[in-house]
């Protein structure tokens, strides 16, 4: 998966909840913390990134909404042919 394209799709789903600035900052910060620095993103790296984002998001919007947001991210990426 292309890293930048994947990040852009994740940010697009997170934006209505976190706002544009935090959606970008949170996703990029977690990428850095997980050592996701190359141009490509593996399935394992994506799963780890989504777990990190979900753990933080749950504090703000609860587990139910977080579950739906993560599902939406996965569906968006799947439609784009990036990941299942």
């Amino acid at each position: 998966m292309d890293r930048e394209a994947t990040i852009a799709r994740i940010v697009a789903v997170l934006k209505p909840y976190l706002g544009a600035t935090m959606a970008v900052a949170a996703t990029r910060t977690h990428c850095e913390k997980l050592g996701i620095t190359g141009n490509e993103l593996s399935q394992e790296q994506l799963d780890a990134l989504l777990i990190r984002l979900a753990n933080g998001l749950a504090v703000f919007v609860g587990h139910e909404t977080t579950g739906r947001v993560i599902e939406e991210i996965r569906a968006t990426l799947s439609q784009a042919g990036g990941a299942p």
Binding site: L18, G19, T29, A58, V59
Partner: protein, 269 residues
Amino acid sequence: VSGRIRLGLVFLSLAAAALLAGQALWPEARLYWSPGVKAAVPGLATLTQLLLLAFGWVQASRCAQGLKPGNPARRAWWYFAFGLLGFFLGHLVQAGYQLILGTSPYPSVSDVPFLAGYPLLTLAAFGFVQAYRETGYPLGSTREHAAIGSGLTVACAVFGFLLLRPVLAQPGPLLERVLTAAYVTFDFVLLVPIAFLVRLTAPFHGGAVFRAWSLVLLGFVALAAGDILYAYFVIMGRDELEPLVDATYVIGYLSLVLGTYEQRVLLAA
């Protein structure tokens, strides 16, 4: 149903706040000539505050229930809900005084739940700060937070001291002066985590989290402003401006309740 109740509360609160502000700023206006209107305005204010706080208690409890037991924000939401309940009980006792005696004595038994509400709201605010810092989201470094905390504590201590000294030096019963000083002190303590939360939630601008929190934080600031205004009017001997304090409380409660409602909707989105 909650949406319709919310809309009704917005209209009722704005009407009550406008009537209260008018009574304080233009007491000679034709509207206030009637003894019936004069008597009805405090009653309307109390009823509005009770309805707002009851709705706020329900929404805040649902926010707490909507988070899993391990969620670090859950406990903070419970503190917040019980803080609102304390304020509700305070206003309920005051309403009883108004109905039986026709006036609200100060100090009175109503100050007990009011004063119990402040530490709960302060614990809630600190709890939210702690929970949001633990999310791993980029919300500022520990050093930055320490600097903000130190600066705020010093600023609140200085302003608090400047305001409290003349309040305590006023003539009048000691208990009354101590209570007024206690409310202002609680407000300044509460303002420290509130300012922190402003910093923490500002980067969420444009999102649903920010919409909910900006309303909650605005509500806290309005409540503190109400208490500080009250203390200021006591110092200046301007008792006739007290309805302005109640108008500030109504707007503060409304803002807190709307923010809590937004948060509850967000949890169930």
